[in-house]
């Protein structure tokens, strides 16, 4: 436990020693802020138009601030996460392998799992900080409207679990190579595939439909954004995360056996 905490602290600090954390956080907030502004501006324009036009005003969903602002916002944030998370995770093991520091790290009295979980937790902490900054958007919505609090809270829970899954896969990709770019491309590519797995549902045989819709990352975030906490979704993200951490441990260990 102590070793886990030491590695966690060291990794967290090293995110701030280098400009990575600052760069990723800044870009993340700029882009999400831009999306938020546009979604919110569209919504307020529509509201003005609805004042003049009674038929438009009858379309309940259109003028529901939770449905038209909060939900799309979560969808957009998750896309930006897909693009930026591999950049946070790519160096975690690749850098250690390339510079050789892994040799010292693995000859210290630490277990592999303490190393992997420490790094995972540090990255998750950075991601949580990013999420905390985005709380500004729901706060602004709250000032100018009456959004439902439930879907906002569950939406954040969903983003958190999804972020954990992204990080876990990024770490696994990073244990496979000593090249950071390869690690980033690999995790981006595979996550993107999981993202889009739902697209082909309409073309495949019925037996595959349930599989594809289950493995698609988007389907599971949807219910969170709607305000539903489905244990199935949480289990999906937790499974994804644990599988990736297990694979990372095996990848680290395999180095010992490869001739």
């Amino acid at each position: 436990m102590r070793n886990f905490y030491l590695i966690f602290k060291k990794e967290l600090k090293s995110y701030f020693y280098s400009p990575i954390a600052y760069a990723v956080m800044t870009i993340f907030l700029i882009i999400t802020g831009y999306f938020f502004y546009n979604i919110f501006a569209t919504f307020s324009t529509l509201s003005f138009q609805a004042q003049m036009n009674p038929t438009l005003a009858k379309q309940y969903n259109l003028l529901n601030i939770s449905e038209s602002v909060v939900r799309p916002l979560f969808g957009n944030v998750s896309v930006i996460m897909l693009l930026l998370m591999p950049l946070l995770t790519m160096r975690l093991f690749s850098e250690e392998k390339r510079s050789g520091t892994i040799e010292l790290l693995l000859t210290y009295p630490v277990r592999d799992i303490e190393v992997v979980l420490g790094k995972f937790a540090a990255c998750l902490a950075i991601f949580s900080i990013m999420l905390v900054f985005t709380l500004l958007y729901p706060f602004l919505i709250k000032i100018y409207g009456q959004p439902e609090l439930g879907p906002i809270i569950t939406g954040y829970i969903g983003l958190f679990f999804m972020g954990a899954a992204f990080i876990a896969f990024g770490i696994f990709a990073s244990t496979l190579t000593e090249n950071q770019v390869v690690a980033a491309v690999l995790s981006f590519g595979v996550l993107l595939f999981f993202w889009m797995a739902g697209y082909s549902i309409s073309f495949v045989s019925s037996s595959l439909v349930s599989v594809l819709s289950y493995i698609a990352l988007t389907q599971h975030l949807e219910s969170f954004a709607k305000g539903v906490i489905d244990s199935g979704d949480i289990i999906y993200y937790l499974n994804f995360t644990m599988l990736c951490i297990f694979l990372s441990l095996r990848a680290l260990e395999s180095k010992k056996w490869r001739g």
């Binding site: 040799e103 010292l104 000859t107 210290y108 001739g259």
Partner: protein, 315 residues
């Protein structure tokens, strides 16, 4: 303290170690000599539990490196050859991190860090980023992280490489002071370093141990003849002719000439070292004696000798 039995390591089809055996007693400093690719680093990596051996057994402080690797790791300080450190960390932060992870308590860590920084001469660099340090200072930080928890066993892969002469002397003194309390294995190319710091030497080539002894015995055993270097002003042909007449002279090797002064290396038979006669002879002939000194056999010489002897036995 350290026992290595029949250790082998195979990388794919390449046999890096072909059955290595040696022991290191508690408090001893053992030198590990060998050319590049001899298997020094591989052996050290097995002892530090970085990867397991293909076959064979190695124990450190009574613990098997494979089965009880966590116990072994607690007792080892390791300095890898290229000194991989976190370049984006400050020295004090880094040493605190390593010390804590190696089991130094939060209470003691401050004193330990400042002690080890003093020992390695990096106190005045405390606030610097490791990435900003020169090679020599990085080497010292590497040594400091190996020493931080006062480990029973130190494994140092070429600890003095890349240091300036003054630093080399300091680091050697530091290592020498560790003897008794710590057991040290250090690898090196430099023979004087071994004779200055190590009590015993293991020479290894192509994955095999070819000699184990004290540095002194090794030199004596292998150096079958005394070699003396001369700088003589005079006609080279005559010099060689006259010197060859002296009893005990086995061979004369003529080196380069400049301004009429020629360098020679004279090999004398062991036990018949008529050193006194040679300068007398030179002066008697009216030549100028500019320099005379005995030539120690270098590691390269000993090494080449050992390797060729080994090949000779095989063929």
């Amino acid at each position: 303290m350290i026992e290595v039995e029949n250790l082998t390591k195979t990388y794919g089809s390449y046999n890096a170690l072909k059955g290595i055996n040696f022991r290191v007693e508690k408090g001893e400093i053992l030198g590990f000599l060998g050319p590049n690719g001899a298997g020094k680093t591989t052996t050290m990596r097995i002892l530090t539990c970085f990867f397991p051996a293909t076959s064979g057994k190695a124990t450190v402080a009574g613990y098997d490196v494979f089965e009880n690797s966590l116990e072994v790791k607690k007792r080892i300080g390791y300095l890898p050859e290229n000194v991989p450190l976190y370049k984006d960390m400050e020295i004090t932060d880094y040493l605190t991190f390593v010390g804590r992870i190696k089991g130094v308590s939060a209470k003691d860590i401050k004193t330990k860090v400042s002690k080890v920084m003093g020992d390695c001469g990096i106190t005045h660099m405390a606030g610097k980023l490791i990435g900003e340090l020169s090679k020599g200072y990085r080497q010292r930080v590497g040594l400091a992280q190996a020493l931080i928890n006062d480990p029973e066993v130190l494994i140092l892969d070429e600890p003095t490489i890349g240091l300036d002469p003054k630093q080399i002397i300091e680091i050697r003194q530091l290592i020498k002071n560790l003897a008794g309390r710590h057991t040290v294995i250090l690898s090196t190319h430099i023979l004087p370093e071994v004779s200055m710091t190590c009590q015993r030497v293991v020479i290894i080539n192509e994955g095999r141990v070819i000699a184990v002894d004290t540095p002194h015995n090794l030199t004596n055993q292998i150096q079958k003849a005394a070699r003396i270097f001369f700088k003589i002003e005079g006609p080279a042909v005559n010099v060689v002719k006259e010197l060859n007449k002296v009893k005990g002279v086995k061979m004369i090797e003529k080196k380069e000439t400049s301004n009429g002064v020629t360098d020679y290396i004279v090999e004398l038979e062991k036990g018949n070292e008529n050193r006194k006669v040679l300068p007398e002879l030179i002066i008697k002939n009216g030549w100028g004696l500019h320099e005379m000194r005995s030539v120690e056999m270098s590691l390269e010489d000993i090494f080449i000798k050992l390797v060729t002897e080994e090949k000779g036995v095989k063929t």
